[in-house]
């Protein structure tokens, strides 16, 4: 077992465990903290996949942006009231069984196709453009229109968030 595989096991166990802790904690603030741990582990997985730019984006945007937004919202709504209520709804047994069935199905699908994935390819040749450079030229080349559409989406989201949190519209 190589060092990269050991790192993968540590990171994936951390991601899955903190994910499970995230959906089972009673206190929502603890859930947010465990989700942050899970997102950090996923960032490490991106690093293992040689996606350095996404590693940085994951930490800056997800952990630094979205999760802080979540913490703000958790602080704004009443945390104490939800501490006394039941965590899970009535259908949790059925939902758990169905989801585990889904997991078995997905795992079987990946397992039966595993021989297609074993081809070890050579790493990117040294001297070629690095990850950030490749992403930059792809975003401003082939993906010009999707980038513009995404910017409009973010603008709409920004205006929508402002409108929805306003007490009165005029």
């Amino acid at each position: 077992m190589t060092l990269a595989q050991i790192a993968f096991f540590i990171l994936s166990v951390l991601a899955l465990l903190s994910g499970i802790l995230m959906i089972t904690r009673r206190n929502v603030v603890h859930s947010v903290i465990w989700l942050i741990v899970s997102l950090f582990s996923v960032a490490g997985i991106f690093l293992l996949l040689e996606a350095e730019f996404l590693f940085a984006v994951q930490i800056i945007l997800y952990v630094g942006g979205i999760m802080v937004l979540f913490l703000f919202a958790v602080m704004l709504v009443n945390v104490e009231a939800s501490l006394k209520e039941a965590r899970f709804n009535r259908q949790w047994g059925l939902a758990l069984g169905t989801s585990l069935l889904l997991l078995v199905e997905l795992a079987y699908g990946v397992y039966s196709a595993r021989h297609g994935f074993r081809i070890v390819q050579a790493s990117v040749a040294a001297g070629s453009a690095n990850n950030t450079q490749l992403i930059g030229s792809a975003l401003y080349g082939n993906y010009m229109l999707p980038v513009e559409i995404a910017s409009i989406l973010l603008l709409v989201a920004m205006v929508g968030a402002v409108i929805m949190t306003k007490r009165r519209l005029y």
Partner: protein, 100 residues
């Protein structure tokens, strides 16, 4: 060298945890966070295939998914705050105004 199917299994596991969170929790905020976990599982799959195919396109898609997640978090949290202001609850079982 890590086989690609390990990453796919990790993505499947994270996806299932997210689905369990969406289906079983009563707190709307935790449901929204579970959706973020599902989007992360999708990102792992996209980046794993991008690595496998030696193409940067999967990472571009992951960036767009992160953009969507940011927009979704902003809108969703705005909705939750507006909901809490009107109904004084974040419990999904009590938000049944449209239920007949």
């Amino acid at each position: 060298m890590i086989p690609t199917d390990w990453f796919l299994l990790l993505g499947a596991g994270l996806f299932t945890i997210g689905v369990i969170g969406v289906l079983t929790r009563r707190n709307v905020l935790v449901i929204l966070m579970s959706i973020e976990l599902i989007l992360n599982a999708v990102n792992i799959n996209l980046v794993a295939f991008s690595h496998y195919l030696r193409s940067v396109d999967g990472q571009i898609f992951a960036i767009f998914v992160i953009t969507d997640a940011a927009a979704e978090a902003a809108i969703g949290l705005g909705l939750i705050i507006a909901l809490f202001r009107n109904k004084e609850t974040v419990n999904a079982d009590e938000i049944d105004l449209l239920k007949w």
